[in-house]
Every structure is written in C-alpha cells, then in structure tokens.
C-alpha cells in the first residue's frame, strides 16, 4: 500500500475525535508491511491519530508484537520526539512495551509537568495515609494475608455502648439448636 493510502486509511479508521478508544479497531488489519508504511507517513498524521495508533499496540496479540517489535519501536521512537506532548508522552510510556510487554514507569526526566504533579501527589498520598481506603481484593483475604497487604487496621469508632445483644442473637441460638437436632435425628435414622 502506498504511503498516502496508508495515511488515508488511518485517517478514515482513527480520525474521529468523538471516540478516543478506537485504537484497537485496526489491530486485525495491521501487519509488518503496514507498520513499515505507517512509519513512512507517521510525521504527517494528526496528533490524535498518532496517539490512537500507538494505543492499538496494546491490543495486538503478543506473538505478533514479538514479530513486529522493531517496526513498532521505530514508530514509538518517532513519537517520543514529536512536538505534540500527548504523542510524545504516550510514545514514552509505551517505549518498553514491544520488547517486554510492560510500560515505562520512569518518566520523571522526560516531562516537567509529570515530574511536578507526581511530586505534589506523592506528598498528598503520604499525608492522606490515615484515610485507609482498602484495595478491593482485601475483602477476599485471610487474616494473615490481609495483614501482610494492608497492615493492622485501627479499631472502629465506638458510637455507643451495647447494653444487650439484638434479637438476632436469639435467632442464631435457635437456629443452631434446631440444626443440631436435625443433624442428630439424621444420624439416628
């Protein structure tokens, strides 16, 4: 496919600014040849098309990513030097993806705003440590595993003293009684 055709194809597929999640729609049509052709016309694409194209890499089957690694890396390298900040940031984040499958978390030296925001939020995170919103998986964990993940939890606030147990206590006792009767009847029969 000629370079111009590739650019037009990408524009048709990813040009809409209404849906900014459409990157994955081109995965099935990507090939090594296509990536090489994209490399040729990358500089001429609109910033949001560049961004969506790179994000499509995340949805490509690992086996293909390994085969097309070099071509993807070349596109990402061009993106990193792009004048649009979103394009260069997404390129930077995805830089290790073709070779390792992971994302770049070492972004501090590359972007002043990112560095500033991260430093500010780091302080906020430490300051708000006492808020204690637990990660969702904590609900599933046995006590030992829970303590290893979340540490010891503070005792809950006592809003009143309990002068007697609620009626649920009687119900529980009755149910257990009934249960043991039924169980022993079953055994005897």
């Amino acid at each position: 496919m000629a370079t111009g055709d590739t650019a037009l194809w990408l524009h048709n597929k990813l040009g809409s600014t209404d849906d900014l999640w459409s990157g994955k729609t081109i995965c099935a049509q990507l090939s090594q040849q296509k990536l090489q052709s994209i490399h040729q016309c990358f500089h001429a694409l609109q910033p949001h098309v560049k961004v969506k194209l790179m994000l499509s890499f995340l949805h490509i089957h690992r086996r293909n990513v390994e085969q097309w690694r070099m071509d993807m890396e070349e596109i990402l390298l061009m993106a990193i030097h792009d004048s649009d900040q979103w394009v260069s940031m997404v390129g930077e984040i995805l830089r290790p993806f073709p070779s390792t499958g992971s994302l770049n978390l070492d972004l501090i030296d590359n972007n002043a705003t990112f560095t500033e925001i991260l430093a500010d939020l780091n302080k906020v995170v430490k300051k708000a440590a006492s808020v204690r919103m637990l990660p969702m998986e904590c609900q599933f964990l046995n006590k030992t595993a829970f303590t290893a993940v979340a540490g010891t939890q503070p005792a809950p606030v006592k809003h009143f003293a309990l002068k007697r147990k609620p009626k649920s206590a009687i119900l529980r006792a009755e149910l257990l009684q009934k249960s043991s009767e039924v169980a022993s009847n079953k055994k005897n029969n």
Binding site: G23, S102, A128, Q139, N142, F160, R164, P166, L171
Partner: protein, 414 residues
C-alpha cells in the same frame, strides 16, 4: 484554558474535553481531583467517582496516563494502598462503560514477565468469562515450586469471576475442573509472600490447604440447591467455614441470588429464613463485608414483594430491618442510620417500619454516644410521627431516656 490552569484555578475547568486537550491542563486537573478524593476518603470517592471516571476515561490515552501516574503513586509504602483502590475503582468504572482496559491493567501488573499466565488472565478478563483451559494453565503454574507472584491473580475482577462461577446458583462448572477453580481462588485468598528489596524470599502456603478444603465443602452445599429446611442440618458447617473471608464473600453472593429470586419468600414460611441468618453471621465475622451486606438488605427492603399479602410483606420488611439492626450493632452504625433516616423522606415508606427500627435500636444502646451518631439519630427520635406513640407521659420510656442521656451532649454543643 491553559491561562486559567496556569493561574491555579483547576476547579473552574469543568468541560472534560477542554481539560483533556492539553497534557499540562489535564495533569493539573487530575492532581486536583486525586487530592480531593484522597482527602475526602470513602465518602468523596462515592460522591465524585462518576465524574472522575468520566474525565479519566475521556480517551484511552488519558486513561493510560492516569493509571501510569497512579500506579507509581500506589507503590508508595505509606498511603499507597489508597491510590491502589482508586486505580481499581477506575478499572471497574471503565469496564462498566464497556471499555477494554485489560491490556493496560496487565501491562502495569508485571504480568508480562509471566507470558503464559498473562495470556490466560488476559483472555478471561477481556471476555469477562472464565474457561477451563485458562484456569488449568493458572492452576498448573500456581502448583509449581516457583509460581508467579500471587498479586497477579489478586485482581478483583478475576476474583469476582471465580466467586460467580462457584457460588451463582445457575452456574455450571465442569466437575472435572472444579477443583482447579477452587484451588486458584484459595491460593489468591491465603498465600503470603515475603519480599526483601523486591526479591521474593518466601512463599507461605500454610493456609492454602484448609482454605481449599473449606471452600470445597461450602461450595458443594451451595451448589446442591437445597431448600432452607434441607440445609438446616448444615448450619454449623456453614457457620464454621464462613470465618474464611473468601467463603463469606461467596456465601453472601449465593444468599443474594437465592433470596432475590421472586419465589423465595413466597415458599419460605419461617419467620427468619436461614439465608438471612447467614447474613448476620457474615456481618459478625467480617467488617469488610458490611457495605455489601447493607446493599443486599437495602435491595430486599426496597423490593415490592407484590405476590405477598400486605401483612406478610410488612413482617418481612421488619425482619430485614432486624438484620440492619444487627449490622448496626456490629459497628456499621452511620451508614445504617443514614439509610433509615433517608427512608423517612421517601413518600412510600411505612412509618411503622421506621418506628420498629428506632425501638429496636433504643433497646440495645446505652451511652456514651458520639456526637455524629446523635446528630444522625436525633431527627428520627424527635419526629413525632415515629416516636409519638411509644412515649409515655411520665417520661419513663426509652425515647425520653435517650433524650435525657444526650442532654449533656447537646448543652455542650450549644
């Protein structure tokens, strides 16, 4: 917009697409949002999460950028777990919008170092469905001497799928593979890893066997589709094994499916059906499941039960309120009282039910009370429609007693 942002007025930038256009502006708005969510805790999250999700999910690039930033923050030993929770809330929010964020979730989780596990998880998470082949891969990998990190399978969405497969009454797992589902879930729930300088030093599987066995026992009971009267003999088994959080989570799900079936209360004539007592037992043992229990009770309380006789319906709602009283007595105080208080403002609430709740509460509580509790509960107490008929002229009733007890607290506030 950049000028407004530069001047520090992030709160003024309300249009999502405007904020997302430039990375600098987006970053600052993100900073403002995360700060207010962290400072406000659970309540702020509940209130502001939809708007936050909308902004972050504006595009796949804004989602990627936000998750990367938050993933770095989540690694902070002090307070990082709060951010981890926000990351998960965003993942769920994105999933609810039908967006496929699994590749980003997995790329951030370090799963890439274990390509086979990663591909198995990826296929199940993207399709929101488990399958025996992928579960077998995980089962084999986690049965080896040097398994992948447990964190890889501690993904809430994956654990939810396992619970659904094992505890949803209509779910059918191939019996040949069921033990593998149970094992993977028990592994995620029980194994403790010790790390030193980022290197795994020890894997403690001490609780894996008892957790697996308990899960198997309870899962079989739940899957047999027995009626309450048939289950009676198994109550002590259920009570005993419910002490494992993962089992309590599963049983609560099973109870949810069972009691929200329209025929359940029609066929059940016991005053308090067994399944509702199981909710009490879960509440007693697991603070972290209090919210889930309340959500289920609210769902029941608000059900129409049109097939039931009016009086039976009223009794049933009282029974549900008694479960809320139990939840209240086990420490989930403010959410329960807030819910009942809000019911008073709804036009279709039978005031005798609120009176029942207030009476039961007054029956079990004694001072000292916290100001937050008094502030919430007092409007119910002072509402004549609710408490007028249970007060006596000589002031020896529980309502007057409560008001007498809090007089000191009120004087202090004035």
């Amino acid at each position: 917009v950049k000028l407004i942002s530069d001047a520090g007025y992030q709160g003024e930038i309300t249009s999502v697409s405007t904020a997302c256009h430039q990375i600098e502006v987006f970053s600052r708005v993100l900073r403002t949002s995360i700060t207010s969510l962290l400072e406000g805790g659970e309540e702020a999250v509940k209130k502001n999460l939809p708007e936050f999700t909308k902004m972050v999910c504006h595009g796949e690039h804004t989602y990627l950028y936000s998750q990367v930033l938050m993933h770095i923050l989540a690694n902070e030993p002090r307070g990082g777990s709060n951010i981890r929770r926000l990351c998960q809330e965003l993942q769920n929010g994105a999933k609810d919008r039908g967006l496929d964020v699994t590749p980003i979730t997995l790329a951030l989780s370090g799963a890439a170092a274990y390509p086979r596990a990663c591909s198995a998880l990826s296929s199940m998470l993207s399709r929101h469905a488990l399958n025996p082949a992928d579960i077998s891969i995980l089962f084999n990998m986690y049965s080896e001497m040097n398994p992948p990190p447990v964190d890889l399978i501690r993904v809430p969405a994956f654990l939810d799928l396992l619970i659904e497969a094992l505890f949803r009454p209509t779910s059918r797992i191939n019996p040949e593979h069921k033990a593998k589902y149970v094992y993977v879930l028990a592994y995620a729930a029980s194994v403790v890893e010790t790390y030193k300088k980022g290197v795994r030093k020890n894997i403690d599987r001490g609780e894996l066997k008892p957790t697996t066995q308990a899960l198997e026992r309870v899962q079989v009971l739940c899957a047999e589709n027995k009626s309450s009267s048939e289950l009676i003999a198994d109550v002590s088994t259920l009570f005993l094994n419910i002490k494992f959080p993962v089992i309590a989570f599963g049983v609560l799900k099973w109870v949810d499916y069972t009691v929200t079936d329209t025929s359940y209360f029609k066929l059940n004539t016991d005053h308090t059906p067994l399944h509702l007592v199981l909710i009490d037992e879960i509440v007693t043992n697991h603070h972290l499941l209090h919210l889930k229990a309340l959500e289920l009770l609210v769902k029941l309380f608000e059900s129409q039960f049109e097939e039931l006789d009016v009086l039976v319906r009223l009794e049933l709602k009282k029974t549900v309120l008694d479960r809320m009283v139990h939840l209240f007595s086990r420490g989930f105080v403010l959410p329960v009282v807030t819910y009942v208080k809000n019911c008073v403002d709804k036009p279709d609430t039978d005031i005798s039910l609120v009176r029942h709740f207030v009476t039961e509460i007054l029956d079990i509580i004694a001072p000292p009370y916290t100001p937050e509790f008094v502030h919430l509960f007092l409007p119910l107490i002072e509402n004549k429609a609710i408490t007028g008929s249970i007060r006596t002229d000589d002031g020896s009733d529980p309502v007057s007693e409560f008001i007498g007890n809090i007089q000191g607290l009120r004087d202090c506030q004035n």
